[in-house]
């Protein structure tokens, strides 16, 4: 990748973070398509084989840590959250396919998370070993960092992307919000047009 290209991609990622709802400025032309395809194929293979996914980037310990962060970003309450939706697998595949240039940020972010954990809870072994209130306390102190913003972005994107990408297992994300992937509808579509009278 030449210098121009990587700079352009940096810009693109930022535009993704700040994606406006006006379609005109919501593009984030970040990645290379073969990477996305590879991510999709991996998720398919895992789903079809019934084997537990292996991680391509994270060590098992690192995966547990990041998954714990994701599970605080979209927690389980009376409905499943990011952990149950398998979002960690989406993040791992993103980092080995279309978002490889984010690996270093994760490696450093994990170190910082560990340091912050020891700092605030000297007896704790790792972030994932803390109780939920303690985890929230730590994340609150880092919620303005680029690392947190990146994990948040990956978590939300994976949780709401098409299930074949691995982070929206059994449409957990879509079911939460009432998005249905029928892709063919007839009017009325919603409450207000159902009761609409032409005048």
């Amino acid at each position: 990748m030449d210098k121009n290209q990587s700079k352009t991609q940096g810009h693109s990622r930022r535009s993704m973070l700040t994606a406006s709802i006006s379609g005109l400025s919501s593009i984030w032309l970040a990645t290379h398509w073969p990477g996305i395809l590879a991510a999709q194929e991996h998720a398919h293979t895992v789903a079809e084989s019934g084997r537990p996914a292996t991680f391509g980037f994270f060590s098992p310990d690192q995966a547990v840590e990041i998954e714990s962060v994701a599970a605080q970003i979209i927690p389980k309450d009376d409905s499943p959250g990011a952990r149950e939706a398998g979002t960690i697998y989406f993040i791992d595949r993103a980092l080995t396919t279309f978002d490889q240039d984010k690996q270093a940020a994760y490696t450093q972010g994990l170190k910082d998370l560990s340091a912050k954990t020891s700092d605030l809870f000297p007896d704790a072994d790792k972030f994932s070993g803390l109780n939920s209130a303690q985890q929230v306390r730590i994340l609150t102190t880092i919620e303005k960092t680029p690392f947190f913003a990146q994990v948040r972005l990956h978590t939300i994107v994976g949780f709401f992307a098409n299930p074949e990408y691995g982070g929206n297992h059994e449409k957990i994300g879509w079911n939460l919000i009432g998005f249905e992937d029928k892709f063919a509808w007839e009017p009325p579509f919603g409450h207000y047009d159902r009761e609409y009278k032409q005048n």
Binding site: S15, M16, G23, L24, R152, A161, N162, F179, Y192
Partner: protein, 557 residues
């Protein structure tokens, strides 16, 4: 499909296959001329268009790829331009019509004569068009019928005169449209159905829309969106006189010693250079790539770029203005279904001296998001939690209860806003990258603020339980690319004449958003199509009489 050899001198090479290129290909080939359309992107089929938000958002599947074709951006000529994804356009057969929302608004009478109506605006190139609405009206009709548009005729006191109704009834109203209409009526405004380049009923062998909900930024998997790909391109191919040549990236329009175009040089998909001979060239590469290609086409006769003897190629770029406000309602709207927008108002279309600035626009009621990811990242009010249970519950409660008032409005033509060649950055073919210099006129920001306030009033009147505006900011990126080869009668102050022929080059036509003299209200597609049909009509007459193919270069004034 007909195939031509590059060594064969075809009648026309058309560069680009979007709104203008598609219409042009259909008209010229249907008149019996031999046409080669060069399209830099691939030809995608219905089955390629998936409901995949991650792919659409995260890859240049349908649009230009900034990794291969970077552009640089700066606000003023004093700055060093930096890489930025400023410019967006369709890069596949059908161009931007494949992924656009399908809002298919005509310009109004006033759009063509605003300079006469309002007078000069200091420091701008504000000017009348060399044509009037009446000149273009028959070709708006043609565009609506050739492409297929669904709408209500005569529903608005502000609508321009039309000689023929829309070919198809309007798309069914959605909940955002109902709420928008309710709010507008309360404020004594005049909501009307949005004309959509999407089929409400089967039309000319094409299927009607099935309301899948994936229009804006997506390609339509059943050809119900009235893109060039679904309508005029197949019609052009059916004539047996038209070849669509994909993967063809044009680097030069070539001229002979008399200043007549002889053909174009392009890189094929293996990056091999090919020269395609032609009797005439029609440049339809969009309001950013058309001027760039002209600037790249330097020759002894045209040392500053083709058709650029007055130095105006690339100048007066207008990126259009947008503003938006969103609101939350009590009951589910389910806006993820069906087309983006179904109701709009034109009550604030005209400029009004009482407001203290130039500008006007249109507001529509719509969902405003590309899908679940778009909503979850960008659809929440600024005071909503960003993560945790609060975030999760907010998204859960409001994904189906949120709507947006989206405004599209004027941007003024400034000579200092332009497309030039970047002196340092190259694209993947080794050609000078596009450099965008753009700083919005102060009135552009004022009109955005005005429309933001009107939008919040509409949401309030509609009964929103929460509403918020997205902060007004300067436009620094756009897919609505207008003004860079402006039309005019005077060769000193414009690049093409009123039939889109380059003043400097008798057998070169430039037809796309670059022809716009003013921005309209930032819905350019319908007008680009109408301009193409009008230019084609003139080209056919001129070519049939023999004049076009024989006329020698006119000495520019």
């Amino acid at each position: 499909m007909r195939k031509f050899s590059p060594a064969t001198q075809v009648d026309f090479v058309i560069i680009g296959s979007g709104a203008a290129g598609g219409a042009m290909a259909k008209e010229l080939s249907a008149s019996g001329f031999e046409v080669v359309v060069l399209e830099q992107g691939p030809r995608l089929e219905d089955r390629d268009f998936k409901h995949d938000e991650l792919k659409i958002r995260n890859t240049p599947a349908l649009v230009n790829d900034h990794a291969l074709q970077p552009n640089t951006f700066r606000k003023t000529a004093q700055e060093k331009a930096q890489l930025a994804p400023t410019i967006s356009y369709g890069r596949c057969v059908g161009g931007g019509t494949v992924h656009y929302t399908g809002s298919q608004w005509r310009l109004h009478e006033i759009d063509f004569i605003e300079r006469s109506r309002w007078g000069a605006i200091k420091g701008t190139g504000f000017a009348d068009w060399p044509i009037t609405y009446a000149d273009l009206e028959p070709f708006y009709v043609k565009a609506e019928y050739e492409f297929g548009v669904s709408g209500t005729s005569g529903g608005s006191p502000f609508d321009p005169a039309r000689s023929k109704p829309y070919p198809l009834p309007p798309m069914p109203i959605k909940s955002a449209g109902v709420l928008f209409e309710r709010g507008c009526r309360k404020l004594e405004l005049h909501p009307i159905p949005v004309p959509s380049a999407i089929l409400s009923q089967p039309y000319q062998g094409r299927q009607a829309c099935n309301h899948c909900g994936f229009c804006e930024w997506y390609g339509c998997e059943r050809g119900a969106k009235s893109s060039s790909l679904a309508s005029v391109i197949p019609a052009a191919e059916k004539t047996g006189h038209c070849e669509i040549r994909t993967g063809s990236y044009v680097r030069e329009i070539s001229v002979d010693k008399n200043g007549r175009v002889t053909g174009v040089i392009y890189f094929d998909s293996r990056k091999q250079e090919v020269f395609q001979k032609a009797k005439a060239v029609v440049l339809c590469a969009n309001g950013s790539e058309s001027p760039r290609l002209l600037l790249l086409s330097k020759s002894k006769l045209f040392p500053d770029g083709l058709a650029n003897s007055n130095g105006l190629v690339g100048k007066y770029l207008m990126l259009g203005g947008t503003a938006s406000a969103s609101g939350i309602f009590d009951e589910p709207l389910n806006e993820f279904k069906s087309v983006m927008a179904t109701r709009a108002i034109e009550d604030f279309y005209d400029s009004d001296a009482k407001r203290g600035f130039y500008g006007g626009g249109r507001i529509d009621g719509r969902w405003g998001f590309m899908g679940p990811i778009g909503y979850a990242l960008g659809g929440l009010p600024p005071d909503a939690p960003l993560w945790g249970t609060g975030y999760k519950n907010f998204v859960k409660e409001n994904f189906n209860r949120t709507m947006t008032c989206q405004s599209y409005m004027t941007s003024l033509p400034l000579e200092t806003n332009n497309i030039t060649l970047d002196p340092d950055v190259k694209d993947a073919w080794g050609l000078a990258a596009m450099r965008v210099t753009y700083k919005e006129h102060p009135d552009g920001l004022k009109v955005k603020q005005y429309f933001l306030e009107r939008s919040l009033e509409i949401l309030e009147a509609a009964g929103a339980k929460k509403k918020w505006g997205n902060p007004v900011r300067e436009t620094t990126s756009s897919g609505h690319l207008m003004g860079t080869c402006r039309m005019g009668n005077d060769p000193k102050t414009s690049v093409v004449d009123k039939f889109n022929r380059a003043h400097d080059v008798p057998n070169l036509f430039i037809v796309d958003g670059s022809s716009f003299v003013t921005s309209g209200r930032n819905h350019p597609t319908c007008t680009i199509e109408a301009l193409a049909f009008r230019a084609a009509d003139n080209i056919v007459t001129s070519a049939k009489s023999g004049g076009l193919f024989q006329r020698s270069a006119v000495k520019s004034a």
